[in-house]
Symmetry: C2
Subunit: 467 residues, 2 copies
Amino acid sequence: MSQTPDSAVRTYLEHHRADFLDDLSAWLRIPSVSARPDHAPDVRRSADWLAAALSRTGFTTAEVWPTPGAPAVYAEWPSDDPEAPTVLVYGHHDVQPADREDGWDGDPFEPVVRGNRLHARGAADDKGQVLFHTLGVRAHLAATGRTAPAVNLKLLVEGEEESGSPHFRALVEAHAERLAADAVIVSDTGMWSADTPTVCTGMRGLAECEIRLYGPDQDIHSGSFGGAVPNPAAAAARLVAALHDEQSRVAVPGFHDGIVELTDRERELLAELPFDEQQWLHTARSHATHGEAGYSTLERIWARPTAEVNGIGGGYQGPGSKTIIPSSAMVKLSFRLVAGQEPDHVEKAVRAWTADQLPAGIRHEITFSGATRPCLTPLDHPALQSVVRSMSRAFQQPVRHTREGGSGPAADLQDVLGAPVLFLGISIPSDGWHAPNEKVELDLLFKGAEAAAYLWADLADTWRHAP
Amino acid sequence: MSQTPDSAVRTYLEHHRADFLDDLSAWLRIPSVSARPDHAPDVRRSADWLAAALSRTGFTTAEVWPTPGAPAVYAEWPSDDPEAPTVLVYGHHDVQPADREDGWDGDPFEPVVRGNRLHARGAADDKGQVLFHTLGVRAHLAATGRTAPAVNLKLLVEGEEESGSPHFRALVEAHAERLAADAVIVSDTGMWSADTPTVCTGMRGLAECEIRLYGPDQDIHSGSFGGAVPNPAAAAARLVAALHDEQSRVAVPGFHDGIVELTDRERELLAELPFDEQQWLHTARSHATHGEAGYSTLERIWARPTAEVNGIGGGYQGPGSKTIIPSSAMVKLSFRLVAGQEPDHVEKAVRAWTADQLPAGIRHEITFSGATRPCLTPLDHPALQSVVRSMSRAFQQPVRHTREGGSGPAADLQDVLGAPVLFLGISIPSDGWHAPNEKVELDLLFKGAEAAAYLWADLADTWRHAP
C-alpha cells in the first residue's frame, strides 16, 4: 500500500483524533487564569500537565520554567539531521478569566463538543493551537518514517500572556542561548475565515504613554478666573486634537521616520480579501469607518501606524455641574507601530511634540510604558513561503495573506533571538477569544495539526536550498 | 451743636458699633450651612433670627418665606414720602460649610475679633454685608431726623445661595408683586482692595452643558480596530479644542451675537485699577495668564464671554494602561456670558456647532442646565451714580469701577422684576470666602453701613430729579 505524504498525514490524524480531543479536554479542564491570583495553583498545574504531555509526545526535554509570576513550559526535540535548522514554536497555556454568569451556556472549564465545535475557555486561545503541535509532529514522523523531526524543534509556552506577559522578555533574555532558533513560529493568531485560510505576515508594535497636565495649584472658580488662565483639561483636549492632521494622519513630527511602506503587491493581496464593511463594522461594534485618508480599512488596522486616546480625564465628571477650571488633567495614548518604526524614536518624537504643544502655565509629566516593536516578514522570505505551502496543502486551496493589528510578545522573540517571526494559526474571528462560549472549529484545529505536520520537512528542505 | 450729615452718620455708627458687633456675632453663631441637610434646623433658626432683628430695627414687615428648600427672609419698611422710589436689597443668610479641621484657627461658628478683623464663617459672605443694612438705615434716620427711610426699603435674604439658589427664581416669580422695585441693591460682592474702594457694575451670565459622545457599542481593542473607527474620546477632545480659535476667541458661530462691547471709557477705567499680574496669578493659583487676544486680564475675566471645559472624561483613567477605543466620552462646558448675550441663543448656537463638529459614527446627547443671564448697569445710570457717590462719601475718596466675573441670582431679580441691579459690597479678596478663617475687615464693614446710610437719601433725590 502506497500513500502520498499528504494522505499519510491525514490518515494519522484521523486515527488519533479521539485521543487528541481527550487530551485537549483534560488540559482545558484546568482553569489556568493568570489574571486571578487564586488561580495561581491552576496555572502551575497547567504547566505541569503540558510538560508531561510534551514528554509523552516524544520531546526529549520538557521543563517548567519559573518566572516571578506564572511558569512557562519549555521543550526540545532535536532533529537527527545535524544540518537541520532550529525552529522555536511560541504559544501560551494561560487563559482569560471566564465565569458562567458572563453568559456561558455551560461551565467554561468543562469542554463540550457541539456539532463540529469544541467549546471551552482556551479552546482557541491558546491551548488548542499549542496542542495541535503535538499531533502535528507525530503525524510528521509517521508520514515520513522518521524517528526525530526534520528540524530541531523547540517549544516555549508562557503562562502570563493574558496578563500582558510581564516577565516574558526577561525570561527570553535569560534563556536566549537555549532558545536560539533560525525561525520562530507563533501559534496564537487566526485566519480570515474558515473559507479563506490565511497566513499572517506581521504584527504592529506598540508604544504607550500617559501624559499628566497641571494648571492651577487647585481647582479654581471658572467665574472668577475663567478666560484668563490656561485650563489643563482644555490643554489635554488640544493635545489629543493635534495628534492627527486633517487627513487623519498622525501629525507628530518624526513619528513616521523609517516606516516600511506597503508595497503595491501587498496592497493588491489585501484588496483581494473578501472584506465586507458592514460585517466588519458589526464586529467592531462601530457605526462608521474613520481613518487615514488614502488607505483602506484593512490597511489602516494592519499596516498603518496609529495614535489612539485610550483614556482622557480632568475636572468634574460627576452628576450635575461644577464651575471650575480644574487643576489637572491626563490623557493615556497608545501608538501602534508598523515595520521600520522604533519605539524609542517614537517616544522621543512624542515627548518633543508634547512639550511643544502646551501653553505657558501648563506643566506636564509624561511616562512611557509597554513598548513592543513591530514585526513583519517580507512576502518573499523562504520561511514564510514554507508556512504558506504547508497551509495550502492542509487546506487544499491557495492561502492569502493578512496582518495582525495588535501587538504581542512575539516581537520579544524577534528582538532577543534575532530570528524571523512566522505565524501559524487557525482560529477564526467567530471563535470568541476573551468572550463567553469561546470555541474552536474542530476541522480547523486538525488542519492546523496537518499544516504543522508538513511544515517541518518543508522548512528543512527550504533551509537546505537556501542560498 | 451742628453736624454735617456725614459726621452725624459717623457719630451714630461709632455709638452703635459695639451693639452691632454683638448682634452680628449672635447671628454668626448659628451654623446656617445650606449644603448640609443636618444643618437645616440651623438655617431655619438663622432665618428666624434675622426676621426678629429686622423687626427690632424698625422694618414694619419681617417674614420668613418658606421654599421647597431653605427659607428666605423678606422685610419692608415703607417710606413716609409717597413719591419715594422703591429699593430691594438682596443678600443671603446661609453660609458655606466649615469644619475646624479644614484649617480654621478656632471654631468657625464662634466669632472672634483679632485686631481689626472679625473671623467667622459668614462674616463677609454674607451675614456681615446683610446686617450692615440694619445699622445703615438707622444711621440714615438718625442723621436726617426721619422716622421712615427716604425710599421704600425692601430686603430679600435667601437661604440657599451657597447651594446654587435652586428655588430662588421661583420664589421671586411667586412674590413678584411684593418684590416690585425701581432698583435692586445686591450686597453680596466685594471691592478691589481696602485701599481701592470700588463699585461693581455688572456680572457675567452663565450657560452650562454636558455633552455625551458615543462611539462603539462597547470598549473595543485598539490593536484590532485602532486607526479605522471614530474614537469618542478623540471626538470629545477635538470638540473642546475647536471651542476657541487661534486668538483664543470663542469660535462657536453665533456665540457673540448681540454682545454689548466694552466702551473706551470702561476700558480706561479698568486700566486705571492697580492691577499686579503676579499678585493676581497668586490669587488664581495659576502660573501664567492665557486668554483672548487683544484684551487685558481684567477685561477677560469681567467683560468677555468664555467657554471653559469644567470636566472631560472617557475611556480608561485608572493606573497603568488599557489598549481600548472607549465606547463613550463626555465633556462638561460652561460659558460665561456678557451683556447682550442671551442664554437661549447661546444654547442654540452650541447645539448647532456641536452637531456640526462630530464625525460620522459618533452619536451625541447634549443637556443644558443652569442658565443665568448677565447683568450690566451703564456707567451713566443715575442709580449707579448714587451708589458711587455714597461709597465715595463713606470712603472719603474717589471710587473706581469693577465687574464681577461670576454669575449670581441677582440676574433673576433683574429678569423678573425688570429693575436695574446695583452692587454695594465691601468685602475684599483676602476675606477668604469659602475658605478657612473667613473674616471681614471691621473698618470696611462700617464703611458699608455708612455708604448704605447715605444711599437712600441720595437715591430718593436722584429719583426726584430724574427726567
